[in-house]
């Protein structure tokens, strides 16, 4: 993978935000143990990327998406729409489908 992962992250964040039912995209959080031990560790998340985490790995890109959603739209449908949108956009940006995509809904409001 040769693309700038921060640029791809920004692009994927915009794509996810455009999915109906998605209210916001959050940077993936640390584990709770890490959070309690050192709240400042979360500030290591780069500021100039989007909220979607894109990692360049030898076996392909790994993408992590964390969203809050609208309860007016069925959550499972939103999850699948986000996955489909991310895979399509990442394939366009990176030239190959990501090897791993995780989409997590953390709030339904």
């Amino acid at each position: 993978m040769t693309a700038d992962v921060r640029a791809v992250s920004r692009e994927l964040t915009a794509v996810v935000l455009a999915v109906p039912g998605v209210r916001s995209v959050l940077p993936p959080g640390p584990g709770l143990a890490t959070l309690v031990r050192d709240v400042r560790s979360v500030l290591e998340i780069p500021r100039d990327g989007g909220a979607v985490l894109v990692q360049d790995r030898p076996d392909g890109a790994r993408v992590r998406v964390v969203v809050t959603t609208d309860r007016a739209v069925p959550t499972i449908a939103v999850l699948r729409s986000v996955r489909d949108a991310v895979v399509a956009a990442a394939q366009h940006s990176l030239g190959a489908a990501p090897s791993d995509v995780t989409v997590r809904v953390v709030e339904i409001d």
Partner: protein
């Protein structure tokens, strides 16, 4: 999969204590305030929240990137409430679709807010929570006022949760039980 994997502080989970803190510890709950381990956890949570607010003040004034800081704080808040990851049945081996237990607990809490005279105090999911599409029992504990039939309100909440949660949860709802833990005469619960 059972629900007994929760980390407990005294007799309470972190989610219960966070909810209590969200309500500014009002109305005061003697069961929590009388539990030394729970009170210690509450104090740690308050320190964490204060630190988060301090970070917001410091970082926002440093470079004005309030939106970025707000998204980090939202990430912290949802991480603290997340609970278990509940997998969504899906055929794509390269994808992992997840709804957190905290998201569903929060949804049930807002469904309680839809009904007058009912406040959801706790929601527990048990059964095949970790199995995509597994059968899960939903146990909801509420406080209700006495202006209307308590049993009618409990049944209304049970029906509301069954209908709405069924459209969002990645599991099959096997049962929904609503327990009225307390009643309040007059005012709001």
């Amino acid at each position: 999969m059972s629900d007994d994997v929760d980390d407990r502080h005294g007799a309470f989970t972190l989610d219960e204590l966070s909810d209590y803190l969200d309500a500014d510890r009002t109305p005061a709950r003697a069961d929590i305030e009388g539990d030394p381990d729970a009170v210690a956890a509450l104090e740690r949570l308050q320190v964490l929240r204060r630190a988060s607010r301090d970070l917001l003040d410091t970082e926002a004034s440093a470079d004005g990137d309030e939106r970025w800081i707000s998204s980090v704080l939202a990430s912290i808040r949802t991480t603290a409430h997340a609970g278990r990851d509940i997998p969504v049945p899906d055929d794509d081996p390269a994808a992992h679709l997840v709804v957190t237990e905290g998201a569903l607990r929060g949804l049930v809490r807002t469904l309680g807010d839809d009904l007058p005279g009912v406040v959801v105090r706790r929601t527990r999911f048990s059964g095949d929570v970790g199995v995509p599409g597994g059968a899960v029992d939903v146990d909801i504990t509420v406080v209700a006022t006495l202006e209307a039939s308590v049993s009618d309100r409990a049944e209304a909440l049970r029906a509301h949760v069954t209908a709405v949660l069924g459209a969002h949860a990645p599991f099959r709802i096997r049962s929904v039980v609503v327990r009225v833990a307390d009643v309040v005469v007059g005012g709001t619960p």
